[in-house]
Amino acid sequence: MYRLTIHELHERLKRKEVSSQEVTKALLERIREVDPRIKAYLCVTEQKAREGAQEADQRIATGQISPLTGVPLAIKDNMCTQGITTTCASKILENFVPPFDATIVKRIKEQGGIIIGKTNMDEFAMGSSTENSRFTTTRNPWNLDAIPGGSSGGSAAAVAADECIAALGSDTGGSIRQPAACCGVVGMKPTYGLISRYGLVAFGSSLDQIGPITKDVEDCAILLNAIAGHDPLDSTSIDLPLPDFRKALVKDIKGWVLGIPREFFVQGMDPAVEEKVWAAIRTLEGMGAKVKEIALPHTGYAVATYYIICTAEASSNLARYDGVKYGFRAPGSPELMAMYLETRSQGFGQEVKRRIMLGTYVLSSGYYDAYYRKAAQVRTLIKADFEKAFQGCDVIVTPTAPTPAFRLGEKVQDPLQMYLSDIFTISVNLAGVPAISIPCGFSKGGLPIGLQIIGRHREEGRIIQAAYTFEQNTDYHTKRPELSC
């Protein structure tokens, strides 16, 4: 039962073959069985989930059922859930219980969706491996010595290990897509502004987006339908009518032009990634698409641009964590400045401090123009690269990550190496366009490889259609890791 997708579960709930309470119980048992090894969850909301399931079953009995009703979902721990701790995997929020729900949580609950727990992540979403969590280390269900990716590693691992029916993550530089690729599941970062950020703890406000992490593309479309749309509480949310994303679940890409950026396929690429991604492109060609080499000339500047902009924004966003109104406060400080210094120094982990330092530096007097403004100008060039490329192709196809999931501990000592692993996902956030990662094969060591499909601004339908067409003509989405006891 825990292996079901949202759409499969919905059908069974509708036909009363299964109840939400039964599914929820099965998932809670599954979590008890495998999470001691995977450690995807920071908090399992057993009582609330059981109550939610009971309410959902009552609703379903009266004939009120929508796609998410009665479906247990996992939420990354940087999205505010009223009455449930929201820690961002940081000591500085270790005991923080939000008095409000994020808009996306509110929407899920209104539709009868069930929150089964909050998932592990890199602290404040800063990282690419979930190793920066203050509390626990999540493992890749396909290989327990490998990273699950980051920063939404907990959500991706939970989906891959069938510890939830689907999950939500957030993506600032690849934090949904890269863990989805590492864990062999589907992950999408929609167009910036499509999904409300109200209640998402801010990291890089001009880059952050919430998105679905799911077992297949249809589930991704379902979740998008459920949570996307304008929110007056988020001034960056797009106020335009939304399509029904399920209408894009069409198995047809005949005549589509797939842009293949030459900068993403370089000498010395990981051989498994190169092999599987090219095989996937050939498969898409076999379904009638045309391949065209394109250029995204400023790709090489994306990592530098991103790490100036996101750290600058983060240094500002994280200034609020001062021990005054909520969260951890260092005890015993005789006066206010000491309290700030002690609270923040004890409360934040190394990567968070490093990024705050970098961000503060690039914004500081004398350096603002040389770094922050300069990076913002390069961002314009990167955005323009995509606009120009899309004049000659329908979607852009690339690998999601430069390698399959690396070993735990492999890159923690070298922050710059860690940053470079975001190279294929980062420009997408800088440009604000949508992108999806879907599984397209495995390395010799049995680790999943992800294919990224990038679309024009607000063309989620196109990337869903391309992803669905590929998925339904292959069987990668049916594969599950062996989790022997």
Binding site: V324, Y326, L336
Partner: protein, 94 residues
Amino acid sequence: MKVERGEVEHVALLARLKLSEEEKEVFTSQLNAILDYMEKLNALDTGAIEPTFHVVSHCNTMREDEVQGSLPQEASLENAPDRAQGCFRVPKII
């Protein structure tokens, strides 16, 4: 080295971070390595390019200045590390 320890100490204070001696060493060298990497942006001529600070086409979303609901005082104080008389209590400022 571009960034000296003194500058790292100054930035740490701006960011309200207290760094240990070891952290100052490590951060100084890591920051320098990262900033060195960022030098590559200088290869680009961006003289006439407008910076992008937002990737949405709209800006300045406004609403009417009407009183709407807000978080009740009790809820606001629920997570307070220390409170008194309906306020957040902190160590003395001066």
